[in-house]
Symmetry: C2
């Protein structure tokens, strides 16, 4: 379709911009409320003293998430889509001038939606999808495109495992049946479990680029 | 837009069909994994001996949810959207012939998505939106259109309240700031708490129509 072609052209421009500045750019995706902002708060706290980080927040309404991130002391730009259920490359392009040119890591938190954001390239290096243990371990099978196009799967809220019907092994097996290359982390943004391993991996990706 | 106009025409046909048969039709909405199918399993078990119930399941991929419902012994039709992130009236219209004409209650479980399903009338009497306590109490503010167009809000997974940062009062206040008319139930599909009150209300709506 013509819409995606135009989007892809702008995404390529964004990507060229990230590459020329050697900024590692990530598109962070999940259902509403899986913990995207919570993971960013933990990640920013762990890495802000050693990496120049900036965040782009995408939401249908409110700037709540940008306020949460700003309180952690890193640059953040809020995109309000006014009803659009996904971010597009043009929205990211218009947000970029609000952020420092020398940022080493740029994470774009997409609109909470497990379907169409998978189809809109924003110019990122990779897509990272979060699934919460409270959503059911069948999500990779029921919403496959997102998992197929992602490089990393984060299973978040593992502190809630004792109280929900969720098998981490089944979820990972389902995800690998859709995308065998998927790298998996398990985390809890409330207890902090698994955050170090995730941050170590992310730091390595940023360092590799520079 | 022309797409929504055509959809609205088909929705009107569906609605006329439901009304002529005096079927109470509900469009059940939420994020992925909030508990739509779990609530339907509980509801069907509670009401199937006194009401003629049929379910329409909408999913991007798999017929997992229809199998879960079928195991409870009521008629169910599965719509697989193959990537479309919401149900449309035409899909519901083509599923209706698979269900008994004398059904008294028809619940349409929509694709898990808090954004665009709000814009597609399926011919239902009302939209019912579920929020899980694990998603955060800010969802009505961040994804307002769904709450504005719904008649009922169900706050599900209240058994998990001791383990999450979620205020039921704040969530309800946020929802009422978007839609003051919203009727609210709180439930747990695992403990069964609140299910009776929800089923009582639903039975009354079906009875009213006949
Ligand atoms: N128990 C527990 N709760 C968590 C965890 N991570 C996030 N939460 C809670 O989950 C809810 C949603 O978290 P957010 O970080 O706002 O989720 P989000 O994906 O950014 O949500 P949207 O941007 O609205 O789509 C909040 O109430 C958080 O406190 C976790 O690891 N464990
Ligand atoms: N603790 C707890 N878990 C629940 C509750 N309701 C549902 N769950 C769990 O939440 C997960 C998702 O439930 P589903 O009923 O499949 O959710 P859904 O909204 O139908 O999901 P999709 O159709 O994939 O969008 C499952 O692991 C359920 O066991 C509840 O009240 N309490
Ligand atoms: Mg967020
Ligand atoms: Mg379901
Ligand atoms: Zn979309
Ligand atoms: Zn859609």
């Amino acid at each position: 379709r013509k819409v995606l072609k135009k989007n892809d052209d702008l995404a390529a421009e964004n990507r060229a911009c990230f590459m020329s500045r050697r900024t590692f750019a990530v598109n962070l995706l999940s259902s509403p409320g899986s913990g995207k902002t919570s993971l960013l708060e933990r990640t920013v706290d762990a890495l802000k003293h050693e990496l120049r980080i900036a965040i782009i927040e995408g939401d249908v309404q409110t700037d709540n998430d940008a306020r949460r991130i700003a309180a952690h002391g890193v640059p953040v730009a809020q995109i309000v889509t006014n009803g659009l259920c996904h971010l597009e490359a043009s929205l990211v392009q218009s947000a970029l001038p609000q952020l420092p040119e020398d940022m080493e890591l740029c994470v774009i938190e997409n609109v909470g939606n497990l379907v169409c954001p998978a189809s809109y390239d924003l110019g990122e290096h990779m897509k990272i999808t979060i699934v919460s243990t409270t959503e059911g371990d069948d999500k990779p099978l029921k919403y496959p495109a997102m998992f197929r196009r992602s490089s990393v799967l984060i299973v978040n809220k593992i502190d809630l495992l004792p109280y929900v019907q969720f098998s981490v092994d089944a979820c990972i097996a389902n995800a690998h049946s859709v995308n065998p290359e998927l790298l998996v982390f398990t985390t809890s943004c409330s207890s902090g479990e698994g955050i170090d391993a995730w941050c170590d991996w992310l730091r390595d990706r940023v360092r590799e680029l520079r």
